[in-house]
């Protein structure tokens, strides 16, 4: 379905920190010829109303992602370790909040 995309400007993913104290969050993507253009375009498109104090851009092809089919087996090691959760432990009410 995808036709030859060699002439297309590369795709970048954009992450924005909306204010200090918060994590960067993925907001979308854009095409740019290099990382510098990606940053200025991200500023123009994704922060027109001061939505950010810091921007990360990263080439989409540089992102390594887990695949949804793994959902079962990939996360399995944590499934049977209920003792990692505070609710695993029965404490009497007299102890109070812990």
């Amino acid at each position: 379905m995808t036709k030859d995309t060699r002439d297309e400007l590369p795709l970048y993913e954009v992450f924005i920190r909306s204010k200090n104290g918060l994590d960067h969050k993925h907001v979308g993507s854009l095409h740019a010829s290099d990382s510098e253009m990606a940053l200025t375009n991200a500023r123009d498109v994704y922060t027109r109303r001061s939505e950010g104090v810091s921007i990360w851009v990263v080439k989409s092809t540089d992102i390594v992602a887990s695949s949804p089919e793994d959902r079962g087996s990939f996360y399995e090691p944590s499934d049977d370790k209920l003792y990692r959760h505070p609710t695993f432990y029965d404490l009497p009410d007299e102890v109070g909040h812990m």
Binding site: M1, L9, G28, S33, R48
Partner: protein, 319 residues
Amino acid sequence: MDARTDDLDRLEAEFQAKVDAEQRIEPKDWMPDRYRQTLIRQMSQHAHSEVVGMLPEGNWLTRAPSLKRKAILMAKIQDEGGHGLYLYSATETLGISRDEMFDQLHTGKAKYSTIFNYPTLTWADVGAIGWLVDGAAITNQIALCRCSYGPYARAMIRICKEESFHQRQGYEIMMTMAQGTKEQKEMAQDALNRWWWPTLMMFGPNDSNSANSAQSMKWKIKRQSNDELRQKFIDATVPQAEYLGLKIPDDELKWNEERGAYDFGEIDWDEFKAVVSGNGLCNRERLKARIDAHDGGKWVRDAALAYAAKKAARKAEAA
């Protein structure tokens, strides 16, 4: 039934169960091919509408009546360009390239909203567009914020946040003109007369004539039907027109106590079909402007790529 069809049935059932449970579908999840194709068509048309939608308003950028109005209109148009980008990038997650979408627009294979094939004759049209056209778009887009496809829903939420200013600035223009001189008020009324019916067409055919609607509702791509959304828009807009002291050009428009909604006249569906199939007042002009802009910008994209390649080569050499 062979093993493959069996497998496909199971995947489809799992997919539908996920949708029914209000879980969002993300780009790498399995999805039925028709779901993917429906989304590509709808989302790319939506993106094209944002981009082509800049053209009728751009017509007034150099002639806005004051510096303030010019700055506002520029900001609104810039937002629409951004909306196009959010939507193109969300559509790309479905596996279609940006170039291919542009191709489909430029060859006429993909459509955009019929509303942008009407001309903007006076400054009041810019007010009417913000008030009515953006108002109708908001009604549609709020419903899409809960779309089952994650990237589309997220783009819609971002867009809806920005749209509210578009409608308010349009209504403010209408208010200023409706309270102005006799000529200004006539201009506002004339704009309402011309934009009212085409705006109602933005919600698409009646439910009884909308073949793909039921499937889209089942997949939770759509949450409300065309007719429901159209009614919602009319009920919200009539009092706004009354406040302006302007008359909506529909003699059958009347409050229906029983339904708790406005009754309204029949839309001219022949006109709608003519505009969809390319015979609106501005179809050719819009498409030509769009293609010229894209072709005219080619040397800039080429130069940017060449510059990036040169810089990368120099860096490699120095290392």
